[in-house]
């Protein structure tokens, strides 16, 4: 089963993303806690793109496509902005985040801990980030 969402780059629209993902994940055997975490991970990637790659420009958009199969859930996030390679990003040490009193830096850490596999590719115009979550059967 697949579905798609066009999300404009306004952080107030993140709630629509959560609703979309919530609905998409209903068809999976994931428990509430796992669903919550997957929604969070996908949102972290999207929020990052909206804020850092698109500077919250409300006329820009990103696309989220989901593909749910028996064994896994795949979330493909496409954008046409300044690419952000999540795989190359070196997340900071937690102790450094605390010492520097910074508010950012935790999002990508969450994505990497929650998702089973992450892919990134860019052709210079279109950037694609794919997040994979394995599904355990009931």
């Amino acid at each position: 089963m697949s579905s798609k969402l066009k999300l404009y780059c306004n952080t107030n629209h993140l709630v629509y993303l959560r609703e979309f993902l919530d609905q998409t994940l209903q068809s999976t055997p994931m428990c509430e806690i796992d669903q919550h975490q997957v929604i969070l991970a996908v949102e972290e990637v999207c929020a990052n793109l909206i804020i850092h790659s698109h500077s919250c420009n409300p006329s820009s958009f990103i696309e989220i496509m989901t593909e749910i199969s028996k064994d896994q859930a795949i979330f493909e996030i496409n954008d046409f902005g300044q690419g952000f390679n999540i795989l190359e990003y070196q997340e900071p040490e937690l102790s450094h985040v605390i010492k520097s009193k910074r508010k950012g830096g935790l999002g990508i850490m969450l994505v990497k801990k929650i998702m089973d596999k992450i892919e990134f590719e860019s052709n210079g115009t279109k950037n694609t980030c794919r997040l994979f979550k394995n599904l355990k059967s009931k």
Binding site: T11, N12, A47, I50, L94, R102, K103, L106, G107
Partner: protein, 112 residues
């Protein structure tokens, strides 16, 4: 949507969070904590029993104050988190850095 209520008590304050904290409204959480600090409040209980969701933007707000709280001997205890929300703190190991209690009674005991 996020609703923040500041309940002033004798010797401490409760910050009641209802709804969802994400990148669109984490500044409101930050402002609420700032306001408490400017009032000289040094015992803060965060009631998370109605908090349905928190993303890294919200977690980052709490994290950004940990050092200042340590320097100024300000205590912050979060209580009543739903299991799904608490797990997000656990994933990052924030439950080792922030005191999290199951209910208000235990949270109050932790700040005495």
């Amino acid at each position: 949507m996020l609703n923040i209520e500041h309940i002033r008590k004798e010797g401490y304050s409760i910050l009641q969070l209802s709804g969802e904290v994400d990148a669109s409204n984490s500044v409101d959480l930050d402002a609420a904590i700032q306001e408490m600090l400017s009032e000289g409040i040094n015992r803060i209980l965060v009631d998370g029993s109605k908090l349905e969701y928190i993303s890294s933007a919200g977690l980052g707000v709490f994290m950004s104050y940990l050092e200042e709280f340590k320097e100024k001997d300000i205590q912050l205890v979060i209580f009543g988190l739903l299991e799904k929300v608490q797990q997000v703190f656990v994933i990052l190991g924030l439950d080792k850095l922030i005191i999290i209690k199951p209910n208000r009674e235990e949270a109050l005991q932790a700040i005495v």
